[in-house]
C-alpha cells in the first residue's frame, strides 16, 4: 500500500463542556497519536473524523479523497468510508464467532478494493487459534486483538484506534503492544491512535498531536515533541526522549548489542535483532546525568558528547535540560543545584551519562 498523502481535517464540534476546534495534517503510512488528558477531546475528534459525530462541521479528506466538506454540503456516510475503527471496549458482535466477526467487514468491501487479506490480519494479530470461539469466551486482550484484525481486514485507508488498550491491565497491554508495532512495520498503514499514556505514544507513534481542551497544542514528529521544553510532555518524572536507531554490532561475551543513532552509539542489552535492523530506544530524562569532563572510572557504559540547547525549570529544585546530539534531542532531569554548580547554559558542551535505556521494539 502506498503511503499517500495522509489525513487532512479541520473540524469543529460543540460539546457540553468544551469546543473541539482542530486542524490536523497527518502523514500517510505512519502512526499518528492524538495525545491529551481525559476530556481534551481526543475521542470526539476521532469520532468526528470517522463521521460518527453528526454535529461536527468542517472538512475531512484522506489521501485526497474527500469525506466531508461542509462548504460543498458533502458528507460521506460512515459506512461508505474506507476506515477501520477500534473502539475502547471491543465491540465484537456477540451473535457471531470470531471468524464471522472478522469476515463481517471484509465481505462488505468489493474484492478489487481488498488490500489486506483475512489470513494476513489473522496472522498479524496472532488469533488463528480463536476462530471458532464466541466473543464472550475471549479475554479482554483477545477481544481487542480480534477487533483490530476485523478492522484491518476491511482494508481501511486509515485505522482509527480509540485507546484500544485503556480497558486492559498492564499484562494484557504488554500482550497487545508487540502486535501493534508489527502492524506498523508490516502494513505501513495510516493509523491515528488516541492515547493518554506517554509510554504507549513513545513506543508506537511517529507523529504526535497534543490536544488540550479541544485545541491542538502542538503537532509534529514524536521525537521532537517529546523533548520540546515548552510542552508538558517534556516535564515531570516520565519525561523521556525517543531515538530511532539501528543495530550495528553484537558483543557475545558481555551479552550486549550496539545501536547507532544520529548522535552516536549506545550499548544496550543483547538483542535478538539482526545487524542493520531498526529499533526505537527510549531514554528517560531521570536516567541522564551530566558532566563537564569525560568521566572516567564509572560503571556507566553510555557516555555521549552533547551540547546544551535549553534549560527549563521543572518541579521545585529540578531542572530539565534539553541536549542536542547530532540532530537528535535528549533530555536530562537534574537538580537545580547541579545545574548552577556546572554553570549550564545553552551552547555549553557536556557529556551525558546514560544510566539506562529502554528498547521499544
Amino acid at each position: 500500500m502506498s503511503a499517500g498523502s495522509g489525513l487532512q481535517a479541520r473540524l469543529q464540534l460543540d460539546r457540553a463542556d468544551f469546543r473541539l476546534d482542530v486542524a490536523l495534517d497527518l502523514p500517510g503510512g505512519q502512526v499518528s497519536a492524538l495525545f491529551g488528558v481525559s476530556g481534551s477531546g481526543k475521542t470526539s475528534c476521532l469520532r468526528a473524523i470517522a463521521g460518527l459525530e453528526r454535529g461536527a462541521r468542517g472538512t475531512v479528506s484522506i489521501n485526497g479523497e474527500v469525506w466531508q466538506d461542509d462548504a460543498r454540503q458533502l458528507f460521506v456516510p460512515v459506512h461508505q468510508r474506507a476506515l477501520g475503527y477500534v473502539f475502547q471496549d471491543a465491540q465484537l458482535f456477540a451473535h457471531l464467532n470470531v471468524a464471522d466477526n472478522l469476515a463481517f467487514g471484509m465481505q462488505r468491501v468489493p474484492p478489487a478494493q481488498r488490500r489486506v487479506s483475512l489470513d494476513q490480519a489473522v496472522a498479524l494479530l496472532g488469533i488463528a487459534h480463536l476462530m471458532q470461539r464466541k466473543p464472550d469466551t475471549l479475554s479482554g486482550g483477545e477481544r481487542q486483538r480480534v477487533c483490530i484484525a476485523r478492522a484491518l481486514a476491511s482494508s481501511p485507508r486509515i485505522l482509527l484506534m480509540d485507546e484500544p488498550l485503556a480497558a486492559l491491565d498492564a499484562a494484557r497491554k504488554a500482550e497487545i503492544l508487540p502486535y501493534l508495532e508489527q502492524l506498523h512495520r508490516e502494513l505501513a498503514m495510516t493509523v491515528l491512535y488516541v492515547s493518554h499514556a506517554p509510554d504507549e505514544v513513545a513506543r508506537l507513534a511517529d507523529h504526535l498531536v497534543l490536544l488540550d481542551l479541544g485545541k491542538v497544542l502542538a503537532s509534529g514528529p514524536t521525537a521532537e515533541l517529546l523533548t520540546r521544553l515548552d510542552l508538558p510532555l517534556a516535564h515531570g518524572d516520565a519525561a523521556a526522549a525517543v531515538l530511532e536507531a539501528t543495530i550495528v554490532g553484537h558483543d557475545a561475551q558481555y551479552h550486549l548489542s550496539v545501536a547507532r543513532f544520529a548522535g552516536g552509539e549506545l550499548c544496550i542489552a543483547r538483542q535478538s535483532l539482526a545487524m542493520g535492523q531498526a529499533l526505537r530506544i527510549r531514554v528517560q530524562a531521570r536516567d541522564v546525568s551530566l558532566s563537564l569532563q569525560h568521566p572516567s572510572g564509572t560503571s556507566i557504559l553510555n557516555i555521549l558528547p552533547v551540547r546544551v540547547l535549553a534549560l527549563s525549570s521543572d518541579s521545585p529544585g529540578q531542572v530539565m535540560v534539553q541536549l542536542g546530539a547530532g540532530g537528535c534531542t535528549l533530555l536530562a532531569r537534574i537538580t537545580e543545584k547541579s545545574a548552577q554548580g556546572l554553570a549550564l547554559a545553552p551552547g555549553l558542551a557536556v557529556f551525558a551519562q546514560i544510566k539506562g535505556v529502554a528498547i521499544l521494539g
Binding site: A50, H79, A94, H95, F104
Partner: protein, 232 residues
C-alpha cells in the same frame, strides 16, 4: 342452541392468533425500534399508549373499538368509503381488535432487546461498511432474537386468551368470530360442562406448554443480553 364442533372454534382461534402475531411483528418492529432509539418527547406518550391495553379492561377497549369501527365511527366510515363494509362481527374486525389488544406484549419485549443492543454495536457495524438496513438485518435482528421469541409467544398466547374484546366486537358467529374462549362461555351457559371441560383443559395445557417453552428457551436469551450489557 345447537352445539358446533369444537374444532371450528379451535381452528378459528389459531388462525386469529397466527395472523395477529404476524401483523404485530410487522407493525411492532418499527414501532419498538423507534421507541428504543428516539429522543423525541413523544416517546413517553406513545409508550404509554402502547401499554394501555395491559391495564384497561378488555370491555373498555372492545367498546371503543365497536364505536370506532361502527357505521358512525371514523374507522367505520373509512372502511365503508373503501368499499370494505363494516368490521364489527367479522373476522377482519377481530384481527384489528387482537392487534391492538396484544400490541404491548409484542412491542415491549422487542423494545427491551433493541435497547439492550446499544448504539455502539450499530456504530461498529457502520465502520465495517454496513449500511443502516444491512446493520438492522445482520446485527440487530440476530441480537434481538430472544426478544422476538418472547414477542411471538406472548403475542400469540395473549391473543388466544382474548375474551372481552372478542365478545364486544366479534359477537358469536360460528366459524367466523366464535373463538375458543367464547365457545367455552357458551358451553357453560348451556350447562354443557363436559364440552366446556374439554376446551378449557385444552387451553390450560396449551398455555402451560407455551410458557414452559418460553422459560426453557429464554434463559439463554437473558444470558446473552446480560453479556451484551457487560461489554458495553
Amino acid at each position: 342452541m345447537p352445539t358446533a364442533s369444537p374444532w371450528g372454534a379451535v381452528a378459528l382461534t389459531l388462525q386469529l392468533a397466527g395472523l395477529s402475531t404476524l401483523i404485530l411483528l410487522l407493525l411492532g418492529t418499527p414501532l419498538a425500534w423507534w421507541l428504543a432509539r428516539t429522543r423525541s418527547w413523544l416517546k413517553g406518550p406513545v409508550g404509554a399508549l402502547v401499554a394501555l391495553p395491559i391495564v384497561l379492561p378488555p370491555t373498555v377497549l372492545g367498546f371503543y373499538l365497536l364505536v370506532t369501527m361502527g357505521p358512525h365511527g371514523a374507522l367505520g366510515q373509512l372502511t365503508q368509503a373503501l368499499g370494505l363494509g363494516l368490521l364489527p362481527f367479522t373476522f377482519a374486525g377481530l384481527v384489528v381488535g387482537s392487534v391492538i389488544y396484544s400490541l404491548p406484549f409484542v412491542v415491549q419485549p422487542l423494545q427491551n432487546s433493541f435497547e439492550a443492543i446499544g448504539e455502539q454495536s450499530l456504530e461498529a457495524a457502520a465502520t465495517l461498511r454496513a449500511s443502516p438496513w444491512d446493520s438492522f438485518v445482520n446485527v440487530v435482528l440476530p441480537l434481538a432474537r430472544p426478544g422476538y421469541l418472547t414477542a411471538c409467544v406472548m403475542g400469540f398466547a395473549h391473543t388466544v386468551g382474548e375474551f372481552g374484546v372478542v365478545l364486544m366486537i366479534g359477537g358469536n358467529i360460528p366459524d367466523k368470530t366464535r373463538v375458543v374462549s367464547i365457545q367455552i362461555y357458551d358451553h357453560v351457559e348451556a350447562m354443557e360442562y363436559a364440552q366446556a371441560h374439554g376446551l378449557a383443559a385444552g387451553m390450560v395445557l396449551f398455555s402451560f406448554v407455551v410458557l414452559l417453552l418460553l422459560y426453557t428457551l429464554n434463559p439463554t436469551g437473558r444470558r446473552q443480553r446480560r453479556g451484551a450489557k457487560v461489554r458495553q
